[in-house]
Symmetry: C2
C-alpha cells in the first residue's frame, strides 16, 4: 500500500486544494505557482491533523515526510535549522479549510537556540533583533506549546524595562534581552528544547491541538463549521519586517471591502512584524505611504495585487512583509466584503470584462440583497455615535427606542405610544407580549439560536443578542461605567450587532427606493440594477407575491412580482365586516344565513376588483376562506370571564353558545379550509361569485384580469371535486366561461395523493407553512417559544424549518410535484409558504421543477435573484 | 370484431360467473350443470344491462340473441311462447352479482295473451288457474313495466270479490277472472301488448330499469355496493306451485342459518307460488311436512340439498317449487347466517372433512367474532319482548335505560345514577355530552354514517339509528299508537337494530367467558376454540395489547395477547399523583423540581413492577409520557371564570399563571412527547429509572421481565439520539445492561426519515392514530363531530380513517417500514394505533410486513383471527 502523503511543498499545491491544505496553505501554493515572491515552505495536510486528533499522536509517516521537506527547504534557502552561522528560521502557522480568524495558534522564529541566535545576529547584523526574536520564541513556545500562562512572561518583560529604565522593549540592549531569554527559559521550567527539530515537532503538534480549544469549538458551533475537518499547518521560512526602516509589514485589499470602490486599500507598519500590527503598538499608515518608504516594494506590490486580482478574478486580501526592501507575500485569499461591496464589485468585474454576468450572479446572495433593503442608521451619525457594545446580529433592522426591562412595561409604554427597546438578560416565553410591543430586542446572553433571536426573527423584529459586555439589572444596564436607565434612549443595529447610546437617525434604503421605481443616483443602485436585470433574464422560475390588498399588490408589481401567488381572503372578513360573519355564524335558519352572506358578496367583489386591477394582465391566485370560524368571534376565555360577573344579553348568550360550540381543541386541525366549504353551504360559492363578478366588471372596462381560484387544505381529491363542481357552476353562470380552479398542497396526504388530486386541479400551490406543521406535527405558534430554542441549541435543527425548507417536507414537495405531473404533465406548480422567499429553499424549489415561488412583496427581489442563482447552479451541475 | 355476447343458456354458465350472470343466473347455471331439476332458461348478462343503462336502449345485438335463445328454449320445452294450444310461459327475473333482496323487479307468466290463456287452461286442465295467471301478468305488467299504481288493480279485485260474494280470490270463477283481465287491461290504458315477444322485451327492459329505482340506489349506498354494476336478467320457463295439493313452493336451508345446527331447515306452502309466501296469505309449514304431502319430491329435495352442500361445501339456501309432484329448483346460493352460525358451520364442515382448517378461517370474520363478544339480550326474553321498531344497527351492544330526549337531561339523570338512553330525531355536536352520559343512543333519522352513528362508534357506545317508524317529539316518541314518555324504560340492540319496550335482561357473552379462561359447555365455544387454535398456528404476525394497568395486562394475556405493544404512562400521573406533577410544573428552582420528581419515581416503579409481572416473559413496550403538561392542570377557562369573582390564593395565582404559560393554541401540535423529554430535564430519566428499577426487582425475584422503552412523537433521529443517550445511561447505571429503546412512528416526518431514525431505534411502533391526524391534518376530537358526518354522507370517506387505515397513511406505514428495514433489516416493527384491532387494517399491516399489531385487550381475539386470515390471503395471492 502506498504511504499516505501528509506534506506538500508550496510548489506542489494550488488554490483548489483548500480542504487538504487549508485556505492559507492552498493560497500560498497558488501564489508560488504564479511566481510571486512567497517565502519557501511546505504544508502539512488537514488529514494529518485528523489522524493526530484521532490517535493523539502524529501519524508515523509524518515525521519522516516533514524531515524530508525540511531538508529540501534548507537546501533551497542555503541555510540550516539551528545552524550557528547562517540559521534557517521558520514559522509554524495554522490554517483550516474554512477561515477561523485568530482562533488557532502560530509559532514564529522556530529554529533559534542558544547557538543559532548568534548566527542570526551575524546574519542580520543586529544582535538586539536576534535576541529579541529568541525571546519571542521562548515566550510563544511557553504559552502555545507548553500551555503556560502568559502573565509571568509579560511581568518579567515589564520588570526588565523598569530595571533598565526604558519605556519601549526595542530600547532594551542585546544583553538585557539575553538575560530575559534566560529568565523566560526558567519560567518555562527549563522545558524549552534546544534541538530545533524538537521545537518544530512540538510546534506542529501544538497547532494541531489548537483545533480543539474551547474558543475554536465555540466558534465552529456558532458558524456551523465541521468539527472534524481539522487544520493544516504551514511551515514557512521566516522573513522579517522588523529589520529597520526599509522593512515593514502590511495588509492590502485590491478593492475597498467596505464599499467595493476600485483602487488599492490597506495599511502598512514600518519596521514591524504582523503581530505588532495586531497588538496595536504603533499606528499604521495608509498603504500608499509605502510608495514613499520603499518605492520598489510598493511598485512590486501593486504589480502583485494586479496579478492576484486578475488571477482570482475577485477582490483579494493580502498580507505581506518587506524585509530590507524585498517584498514577501505571506497570505492571500478572496476577501470578505460587505453586502454593498459584493454588488458593486461583481458589477465592476463584469464591466472590466473579468467575469461573465452569470458569474457575477454567483458572487452575490439574496441574503446580501436583503441586508441592503433594511433601513439602516445614517453612516455619518454612526461615525459620531457612542458604541456601547457589540452583540450578535440576530435579526436585521435598525431600531431606536427607550430601554425597558420587563415585558409588562414594554406593553404599557407601547400602548402609551412610546417606542421601546426591550432589554433582558435573556428572554423566555413570558416575554412574548413585550417583544411584540417593542421596536427591538436586546439581550446580554445567548446566540443566534437563543429564544430572543429565534422569536424575533420569526416576528421580523430587530434583535441584537449576546451583548455580553452589558450587565443587565431589573431596571437598568451597565457597560463599564456607563449606566443606561429605564427610559433612556438607545439604538440597536440588528444587521451588525452594534448597540448605541442615544437616538440615531434611521435612513431608508436606496435599494428599496430603486425597487420602488424611484430614480436614485448611486453606484450601488447601478450595480444592483445590472445584476437584477441579468437575474431576470437567467431565471427559470417566476416570482409572485403573497398579497391581500391593492397596496401590497401594487408594491409587489413594482418590486418585480409576476402576479400574486397567494391572495388570502380571510382578512376581508375583518373590521366592520366581522359583524356579517358573526351573523352568518349565529344564523340558525337558511334565511338568516342568506341575509348574512349577501352583503359579504358585494364587499368581496369590490376587494377583488381592486386587487385584480392592480395586477392587471398577471395571474392572481385567490385562496378561499381558510381559518376556523371562531377566529372571527371573541376569545372564549375572555368572553366567559366577562360574562361570569353579570347577566349576559340575549345576543351575548348566543355568542357565548356559538363560541363554545365552535371551540376546538386544536383549531389548526379542525373545521377550516375546504372543510368549511363543504359544511357551510354557500360560503365558497359566495366567494366564487364575488371573484367572477369582479372579473366580469374589469373585463367590461377593457382590463385583463387573470384570477385563479385556490381551494385550501385539501387532503383528498373527493373534497376538491365536490367544491369544484359548485364553484365552477357559479363561475360559469356569471362569466359563461371557466376560471382556473386549483388547490393548496399543504397536508402530507395531499402530497401523497397528488396524482389523484391533479385530476381535478388546474394548478397546485404548496403551502409549506402548514405542510411543515403537519409533517413535523408541531404548530409554529406553540413550538417556536416552547422548544425551538432547545432544538436549535442541541442541533436538532440547524435552522428553524419555518425559515428554511426541511428535507422531509422537501421530499413531500418533490414527490407531490412529480405525482401531480404524472397525471397532468403541464400542471402549473408553485409555492406560497414563507419558504418562497428563503434563498436555500428557492434553490430546492428550482431543483424540484416548480414553476414559480410566491413570497411577501418585500422579498420579491431576493427571490428573483436567488431563482436566477438556482438556475445557474443547476445548469452547472448539469441538471 | 366479434359480436359481444349478451345471453348465456343455463347449460353454459357456472357459479364462478356471478359478475356476468348475477348471483341467481350463475347458480341456476351451476345447478343445471350438476344435473339438478332446474327449469330451462337463459340469462342476459349484467354487461347488457350496463349498456342499456348507458344508452337508454337495449344493445342492438341483444334482441337477436334473446330471440335465438328463446327459440332454443321453445324447442327444448316443446312449447312456444304465445301458442294457443300448448303455450310456453316464462318468468323474467332480476339478479345482480351482489344480493339485493327485494330491491328489483320480476315479471311472471310472460307469454299469456287472449289466445294462449286458453292453451294454458287446456294444458293445466284448470281454467281458473289460467285466467288467474293471466290476471296476475296483466297486473304485474301494469305496475312493473308500465309504472302504474298498484291500488286501482287491488281495488278492482276487491270489488270483484264483493260483487261475487266471495272472500278469497281463489274462489272467483274463471269467468269472473276473465272479466277482471278485461278490467285490468283497461286500467293499463290498453297498453298491455298481446304479442308475447313484445311482453318479453318490455319485461327485460323493466328489470334493467329497476336497477335505478330510488330504493335500489339507497340500498346500494347503505351497503356500499357498486352503483354501476347493473343487474342480470334470467328468463326461466314457468313452473307452477299452485296447480293443486301435489303442488307447492318453499325455501330450505342445508343447516340452521340462525344457530349453525346441522339438519334441514325450511318452510313449505302447498298449492302456492313464491309470491304467496311473501304475501303471507297462509301460514307456511315446516319443511319436514313435505314428506307427508309429496314424499317423492321431499326425498328428491333431500338428495338435492345434500348434493348442493357437498358441491358448494357450505350452507346453501334454496328456493324450490313442486309442480304436480315434480320438484323444480328455482334458486340456490351460499346462505347468509348469523355470526354464531358462521363459526359453528365452519367448524362442523372441517369435522365432516368437507373443508380444510384454512378454508374454515376464510368462512368467518373478525367482525363476526366481535359480535359474539358483545353482551346480548337474553334470547328467551327477546322472543317475549315487544319490538317497537327496527332501525339500523349502527354501533353494537345491548343497552337498557330510561328514555330521555335532550342532552342536558341525559347528563343530569346520569349524574343522579340513572341509566338512560338518549333518544333524538338526529344528533348534532350539541348532543355530545348527552351521548357520553347515556348507555345508548337511538335516533329516528340518519344511516350508518349519521352523526349519531359515527360518534357512537367512536365512543364504543351502543347505537340504533334511522328507526324511521318512531315519531320523536320533545319529551316522548310514538310508534303507531304506542307512546314512550321521558323516563319509560326501553332496550336497544345495536347489533340488530331492534328497539324494545321495557327492560330486557342482558346476558354476557359465552365467547368472552371462554376467552377469559372459563370452562363453557357450548357448541359455539367449541367451534370458536378450534378455529382460534388454528388461527394461532397459521398467523405470521404476533398480537399484543394496548394496556396500562395490571388488570388490563392480565386480561390481555388471558385473551391471547403476546405482550404489551403500548403501555401508556400518563395515566400513572393522574389521581392523587396529579399533585406531584402539578408541583413539578410549578417548580421554579432545580431543588423544587427534584422534590417533585422523586416521589413520582417510586410510584412509577411500583406500577411497572405490577404490569411487568403480569406479562412476565413477554415484551412490554412502555411509552414515556406523551401528553402536554397542561392536561394535568385545571381547564383554563374554568379556572379563569372561577377566579374572576374572588381574590385568588397565592397557589391559585401561580396555578393560573402556569396554566396561561402552558396554554397552547394547538396542544396536539405543541410541547409533548419527546419534546417534553428534551425540554424538562429529568422527566424521561425519572421514567427510565423507574422501569430499570422495576426490572431489577423482578429479576431478583426470579422473574423474566421484558420491558422495551418507547419514545413518543419523534420527528427526527436527532431527537431520539439525544434522549436515548440519557435514558440508556440511566438504565445501564441501574441494570449494568441495556434495555431495548425504540420509538413511535406517528408523524409523517418520522416515516419519511425512518432510514435515519432506525439508526438509533431498536424497534418501531406505528402510532397510526396520530399519524392519521397529521397526515390528514385533522384532529379526531375536532373533526368527528364537526364534519365527518358530512364527509361520510358525501362519500369523501367510505369509512372514518380513524376506524380503518387510510390509503395514504398506509403508504407512510409501508414506506416507513421499508426505509427502517433498509437501515436495519431485522428491525422489529409493530403498530399500536387503534387500527391494530381493525380487520381491514390488519390485512394491510400483514402485507406491509409488520411483526405485530397491538390493540385493546378486548379486540385481541379479533386481531388473532384476522392476522391468520391475512396470512392465508397473502399465501393465496402468492406473496
Amino acid at each position: 500500500m502506498e504511504q499516505p502523503r501528509y506534506v506538500f511543498d508550496f510548489a506542489e499545491g494550488g488554490k483548489e486544494q483548500a480542504e487538504l491544505l487549508g485556505g492559507k496553505g492552498a493560497n500560498l501554493a497558488e501564489m508560488t505557482r504564479l511566481g510571486l515572491p512567497v517565502p519557501p515552505g511546505f504544508t502539512i495536510t488537514t488529514q494529518a491533523c485528523r489522524e493526530y486528533l484521532r490517535t493523539g499522536t502524529p501519524p508515523p509517516e509524518l515525521t519522516a515526510q516533514v524531515a524530508d521537506h525540511l531538508t529540501a527547504l534548507e537546501k533551497k534557502m542555503g541555510r540550516e535549522l539551528g545552524d550557528t552561522a547562517n540559521p534557517l528560521l521558520v514559522s509554524v502557522r495554522s490554517g483550516a479549510a474554512a477561515s477561523m480568524p485568530g482562533m488557532m495558534e502560530t509559532v514564529l522564529n522556530v529554529g533559534l537556540n542558544d547557538e543559532s541566535v548568534h548566527g542570526l545576529a551575524a546574519q542580520s547584523g543586529d544582535a538586539r533583533f536576534a535576541w529579541d526574536s529568541y525571546r519571542r520564541l521562548v515566550q510563544m513556545f511557553g504559552k502555545t506549546v507548553l500551555g503556560l500562562s502568559g502573565e509571568p512572561f509579560d511581568e518579567a518583560l515589564e520588570a526588565a524595562k523598569i530595571r533598565y529604565g526604558v519605556t519601549n522593549d526595542t530600547e532594551l540592549s542585546p544583553e538585557a534581552m539575553s538575560d530575559l531569554v534566560d529568565e523566560f527559559k526558567k519560567l518555562s521550567g527549563d522545558a524549552f528544547p534546544q534541538d530545533p527539530r524538537e521545537q518544530l515537532k512540538a510546534a506542529i503538534s501544538a497547532v494541531f491541538n489548537s483545533w480543539n480549544t474551547e474558543r475554536a469549538k465555540t466558534y465552529r458551533r456558532i458558524e456551523r463549521l465541521d468539527d472534524n475537518a481539522g487544520t493544516a499547518v504551514s511551515v514557512v521560512a521566516m522573513v522579517f519586517g522588523n529589520l529597520g526602516a526599509d522593512s515593514g509589514t502590511g495588509v492590502a485589499f485590491t478593492r475597498d471591502p467596505a464599499t467595493g470602490e476600485s483602487g488599492n486599500y490597506g495599511d502598512y507598519l514600518a519596521n514591524a512584524q504582523g503581530e505588532d500590527v495586531v497588538a496595536g503598538i504603533r499606528n499604521t499608515v495608509p498603504l500608499t505611504e509605502l510608495e514613499k518608504l520603499v518605492p520598489s516594494a510598493y511598485h512590486e506590490l501593486r504589480q502583485v495585487m494586479s496579478t492576484l486580482e486578475q488571477h482570482y478574478r475577485d477582490l483579494c486580501d493580502i498580507e505581506f512583509t518587506v524585509e530590507r526592501g524585498k517584498l514577501w507575500m505571506l497570505q492571500t485569499r478572496v476577501g470578505k466584503r460587505t453586502a454593498a461591496a459584493a454588488f458593486r464589485i461583481a458589477a465592476a468585474l463584469v464591466a472590466e470584462g473579468m467575469i461573465t454576468q452569470d458569474e457575477a450572479l454567483c458572487r452575490v446572495t439574496g441574503a446580501q440583497l436583503a441586508q441592503l433593503m433594511f433601513p439602516h442608521f445614517d453612516p455619518e451619525a454612526v461615525r459620531e455615535a457612542r458604541v456601547l457594545a457589540n452583540g450578535i446580529a440576530a435579526s436585521p433592522g435598525a431600531a431606536v427606542g427607550q430601554a425597558v426591562f420587563d415585558s409588562a412595561t414594554a406593553v404599557q409604554w407601547a400602548k402609551d405610544g412610546k417606542a421601546v427597546i426591550l432589554v433582558r438578560r435573556e428572554t423566555n416565553p413570558d416575554d412574548l407580549d413585550g417583544m411584540i410591543a417593542a421596536n427591538g430586542v436586546l439581550t446580554s446572553r445567548g446566540g443566534k439560536t437563543s429564544h430572543a433571536a429565534v422569536v424575533a426573527r420569526g416576528m421580523g423584529k430587530t434583535c441584537v443578542c449576546g451583548a455580553d459586555k452589558l450587565t443587565v439589572g431589573p431596571d437598568q444596564f451597565a457597560v463599564g461605567d456607563i449606566v443606561v436607565k429605564q427610559g433612556d434612549v438607545i439604538s440597536i443595529d440588528g444587521g451588525t450587532g452594534a448597540v448605541y447610546a442615544g437616538d440615531l437617525p434611521v435612513a431608508d434604503s436606496d435599494v428599496v427606493a430603486y425597487f420602488e421605481g424611484k430614480h436614485v443616483e448611486s453606484q450601488l443602485v447601478s450595480a444592483v440594477d445590472s445584476l437584477m436585470r441579468h437575474a431576470d433574464e437567467v431565471r427559470r422560475m417566476r416570482v409572485r407575491a403573497n398579497a391581500d390588498t391593492e397596496q401590497d399588490a401594487a408594491r409587489a408589481r413594482r418590486f418585480g412580482g409576476q402576479g400574486i401567488g397567494l391572495c388570502r381572503t380571510e382578512h376581508m372578513f375583518l373590521g366592520e365586516r366581522r359583524a356579517h360573519l358573526e351573523q352568518l355564524i349565529l344564523a340558525r335558519t337558511e334565511q338568516e344565513r342568506l341575509q348574512a352572506l349577501e352583503p359579504l358578496r358585494s364587499l368581496q367583489r369590490d376587494d377583488f376588483v381592486e386587487i385584480l386591477r392592480a395586477m392587471d394582465g398577471l395571474p392572481v391566485t385567490i385562496r378561499l376562506i381558510d381559518p376556523p370560524l371562531h377566529e372571527f368571534l371573541p376569545d372564549r376565555t375572555e368572553l366567559a370571564v366577562s360574562l361570569a360577573t353579570r347577566e349576559p344579553s340575549v345576543r351575548e348568550k348566543a355568542l357565548l353558545e356559538a363560541v363554545n360550540r365552535l371551540h376546538e381543541q386544536n383549531p389548526m386541525l379542525g373545521l377550516r379550509g375546504v372543510r368549511l366549504g363543504l359544511v357551510i353551504p354557500g360560503l365558497f360559492e359566495l366567494q366564487a361569485q364575488a371573484i367572477a363578478e369582479a372579473t366580469n366588471e374589469l373585463r367590461e372596462q377593457g382590463h385583463d384580469p387573470q384570477p385563479e381560484i385556490m381551494v385550501p387544505l385539501v387532503g383528498s381529491v373527493a373534497e376538491l371535486s365536490a367544491v369544484r363542481t359548485d364553484i365552477a357552476s357559479v363561475v360559469r353562470s356569471v362569466l359563461g366561461a371557466d376560471l382556473p380552479i386549483g388547490t393548496m398542497i399543504e397536508l402530507p396526504r395531499a402530497a401523497l395523493t397528488a396524482d389523484q388530486i391533479a385530476v381535478d386541479a388546474d394548478f397546485f400551490s404548496f403551502g409549506t407553512n402548514d405542510l411543515t406543521q403537519t409533517t413535523w406535527g408541531f404548530s409554529r405558534d406553540d413550538a417556536e417559544g416552547a422548544f425551538f430554542v432547545e432544538y436549535l441549541e442541541r442541533g436538532i435543527f440547524q435552522v428553524s424549518p419555518f425559515e428554511s425548507l426541511d428535507s422531509a417536507v422537501g421530499e413531500l414537495v418533490h414527490l407531490g410535484t412529480d405525482r401531480g405531473r404524472g397525471t397532468k404533465p403541464d400542471l402549473k406548480v408553485g409555492v406560497c409558504g414563507e419558504h418562497g422567499g428563503d434563498p436555500d429553499s428557492i434553490h430546492l424549489f428550482d431543483q424540484y421543477g416548480l414553476d414559480y415561488v410566491s413570497c411577501s412583496p418585500f422579498r420579491i427581489p431576493i427571490a428573483r435573484l436567488e431563482a436566477a442563482r438556482a438556475t445557474l447552479g443547476h445548469k452547472k451541475r448539469g441538471d
